[in-house]
């Protein structure tokens, strides 16, 4: 293991972003911003379309069919509609906080895309503390939710915001504990490094390469459930809880501000899925132990030809969409939990389980 982790660190030092090939400061910066923005605006829309269609099919509906071929432009049409809507601010609302809240929620979701590696070199930034950064920045989003809940001057919004806050505190802990366990096993906090560590991870005593989901299936489950709870995705959508709280913290929001909240949710689905792909499902590796065509480097994942890069990106996106699909599936299959049941599940089940998981993996890591 030491050999692998040291190998990983040496490789990370060399791992360069696609955009580093350009000279100067401004051009790479512009390219990076464009890259992150297109990720933020395009991929969540694809995820949203997938949700509409998959959910429709499971519920004997057809989903969107009118906007564009097979309704693919439905979310774009929704966005245009939201822009046209009147921007209503309640008279009693705290105007500035009310207006700033959707932005505070959305910007962190945008910033996470900085560190998410879609393929070899296909990332805006490879931070040494990439995992730490990603987890820290996603937590900022809830601030926007709390602000919106408070500033709306609406009891339903207030309760929704408070629920969101309580939910974040409860599920941040198992989420981070599960992620730490992966970092322990990989020996690095760099997301690229974690992908590389998985490519080199063998079942002890054999030469069979597996992803971290194999030793950490419990951690994966904890991360998945916590991620859905943190995103307020059904069945954990109590902060919105349309049958109880009308629409929770979003009740008073209209038009583009509402759309920003919605986009934050879809972007959150993508970032959380991407994190799961990186942490547990081998990043852009197609199958464990199979080098990517056109790639060399550690585990056949780096130093790729353009075709190899394109294939890697497709593999990552495919895995992300598969996870999004599972989230949609959970939404279709399950009703909503109650607030106290949600808290109980976190503190009495997930937190102890993730601590146990961390202990077992650490011992495992030391022994082998």
């Amino acid at each position: 293991m030491t050999a692998i982790s040291s190998g990983a660190t040496t490789y990370i030092a060399q791992s360069v972003s696609l955009f580093d090939g350009f000279d100067g400061f401004v051009l790479p910066l512009v390219l990076k911003i464009a890259f992150v923005l297109q990720l933020f605006f395009v991929v969540p829309l694809v995820g949203g379309y997938l949700e509409h269609k998959a959910m429709g099919r499971m519920q004997h509906r057809r989903g969107p069919v009118e906007a564009g071929p097979f309704g693919v432009l439905q979310l774009v049409a929704d966005g245009i509609k939201f822009i046209q809507k009147e921007d209503v601010i309640p008279r009693a609302a705290d105007r500035w906080v009310f207006a700033a809240a959707p932005g505070v929620a959305m910007v962190p979701a945008l910033l996470v895309f900085l560190v998410i590696p879609l393929g070899p070199g296909v990332f805006a930034l490879d931070l040494e503390l990439g995992l730490f950064y990603a987890l820290a920045i996603t937590s900022v989003s809830v601030l926007g939710v709390l602000m919106g809940g408070w500033a709306s001057a609406n009891k339903f919004s207030l309760i929704g915001g408070l629920r969101a806050g309580a939910q974040l505190i409860a599920y941040e802990l198992p989420l981070i504990l599960a992620a730490i366990t992966v970092a322990v096993q990989a020996g690095t906090l760099s997301l690229v490094g974690i992908v590389e560590a998985q490519a080199g991870f063998m079942i002890p005593g054999t030469g069979i390469n597996v992803w971290f989901v194999f030793p950490q299936i419990v951690g994966f489950g904890i991360f998945f459930i916590s991620a859905m709870a943190e995103l307020s995705r059904p069945p954990f959508d109590m902060p919105i809880g349309d049958s109880e709280l009308v629409f929770g913290y979003m009740t008073e929001y209209t038009g583009i501000k509402y759309a920003m909240y919605m986009l934050t949710e879809y972007a959150g689905m993508i970032t959380m899925s991407a994190l799961m792909v990186v942490l547990y499902l081998g990043g852009w590796q197609l199958l464990p132990g199979v080098p990517m065509p056109g790639c060399e480097g550690a585990g056949g994942l780096f130093d790729c030809s353009p075709i190899g890069i394109a294939l890697s990106v497709l593999v990552t996106l495919g895995k992300i969409m598969a996870l999004v699909f599972v989230m949609v599936w959970a939404r279709v299959a399950y009703p909503r939990l109650r607030e106290d049941q949600l808290q109980r599940m976190s503190w009495l089940v997930l937190v102890p389980l993730s601590l146990l998981n961390l202990a077992v993996i650490t011992v495992f890591k030391v022994v082998f």
Binding site: R61, G241, A333, P335
Partner: protein, 436 residues
């Protein structure tokens, strides 16, 4: 009489508390200091079944008091019926509990028939039973669908409404309307069932058990569905009696009280069926009871189809029976040419009879009856008073939704806001019936 402490407190509370006004946000925040919050839920709220308004007193998220405020769907149907003939009454009462329209028609018609002292033909009786039981299934499907949706299970919503649509198709094929049929009338039925009626019923009986098994697959062992429903909204037998709660709520508390067994009309005593009961008295027990009731209803329909006799569907008495069987024209409606020829060209007496019946209607002997019927929501009773004219003197309806809704307070206290949604859903109130 033993009175539940909750009953007393809910009666003695200051009526002024019912008014929740818009307030300055600062004053709302100040009011939060004593840890209680008054929240207005409805009448425009996603989960209050139409236009029910609930005023919740909350301690944190725990409900300390729930006050249902009704009247937003008041239609004045009971009063209006006093100005309409006896036959026209059917078209009004079918619009009260719009999820169980046939029950309203049947209970009203049974009352009028009792006052008239007539027996309806056997065929009409059996067709009524078939359609009533299908209506029960359709109503329970809507309950399952909306209840599921309120708990966030949108799949149950689409599934429930999908199967209900098949049942409404059957109703439409027989009465011409999906809801508010005015198909069951004093004296029998508006018209005979179509030639493919039995076939349509058979295909539904083939389809529905599979679909109900699907719902059970989706929900019965679903951990979240179990967590949300079990132990929520408990109302025990004694409290049921005190509030007059009937229907699936009473049966879920372990009382096998079903008017089809207790006071059989429409020949229900000839059918072999069980009254499903549960003992947990919570929302999950009601879910089980309603699922079981759908199965029992299908058993009744099967037996009724086997014994469906030939014959008329309206009493022979020409002073009561609507004179004409409508023929089916290319546009779906039409007159009966043979009958028109008869009254216009052959018989002056028939024309007079037609004219009198259609414009003035028949008269009903003076008297008073109360007809209870086991609707999907409980005891649906029609208290009809006649003074011997062609219009009712008074029709009072004992609506199960209205009576059961009283229990929402005692069922919700001590639970969280989320559970109020479950409680109201498990009560299955239909505001058209509550407000009338």
């Amino acid at each position: 009489m033993a009175v539940d402490p909750n009953v007393e407190s809910s009666l003695s509370d200051d009526a002024l508390e019912l008014f929740v006004e818009g307030a300055d946000w600062e004053s709302v925040v100040d009011a939060v200091e004593d840890d209680t919050l008054t929240v207005n839920m409805g009448p425009q709220h996603p989960s209050t079944h139409g236009v029910l308004r609930l005023v919740l007193n909350l301690d944190g998220e725990v409900v300390t008091k729930l006050t249902p405020i009704i009247g937003y769907l008041h239609t004045g149907i009971e009063k209006n019926a006093e100005y309409r003939t006896w036959v026209q009454g059917t078209t009004f009462f079918t619009r009260m509990d719009y999820l169980a329209p046939l029950y309203n028609e049947a209970a009203y018609s049974l009352g009028v028939e009792q006052l008239l002292g007539i027996d309806i033909p056997k065929r009409a009786e059996v067709v009524r039973v078939i359609l009533l039981e299908f209506n029960r299934i359709a109503s329970h499907l809507v309950w399952l669908a909306t209840g599921g949706m309120e708990l966030g299970s949108t799949t149950m919503m689409t599934f429930g409404f999908r199967e209900r649509e098949h049942i409404l198709d059957l109703f439409e094929s027989q009465s011409g309307l999906r809801m508010n049929h005015a198909y069951i009338r004093p004296g029998g039925l508006a018209q005979d069932v179509t030639s493919d009626f039995v076939e349509r019923c058979e295909s539904l009986l083939e389809l529905l058990p599979r679909k109900i098994a699907d719902y059970e697959d989706l929900l019965l062992k679903n951990p979240i569905w179990n967590d949300r429903l079990r132990g929520v909204g408990i109302i025990d037998e004694q409290t049921c009696y005190e509030y007059g709660v009937t229907g699936p709520l009473l049966r879920a508390a372990g009382v096998p009280w079903d008017l089809r067994k207790a006071e059989p009309c429409l020949g229900y005593d000839e059918y072999d069926f069980e009254v499903p009961t549960e003992t947990a008295a919570d929302s999950f027990a009601r879910f089980l009871v309603r699922i079981a009731e759908m199965r029992e209803s299908m058993g009744i329909i099967r037996q009724a189809l086997d014994r469906l006799p030939d014959g008329p569907v309206m009493v022979a008495d020409k002073r009561i029976a609507w004179p004409s069987q409508q023929a089916l024209g290319p546009d779906g409606i039409g007159n009966d040419p043979e009958y028109i020829r008869h009254i216009m060209g052959e018989s002056m007496e028939s024309l007079i009879n037609h004219f009198k019946l259609v414009t003035q209607g028949f008269t009903v002997p003076a008297g008073q009856v109360y007809v209870p019927l086991e609707s999907p929501r409980g005891e649906l009773g029609y208290a009809i008073t006649s003074t011997g004219t062609n219009k009712p003197y008074r029709v009072h309806v004992r609506e199960p939704s209205f009576v059961n809704l009283q229990a929402a307070d005692v069922m919700s206290r001590g639970h969280m806001v989320s559970d109020v949604v479950v409680v109201v859903a498990s009560l299955d109130p239909v505001m058209g019936g509550v407000d009338r």
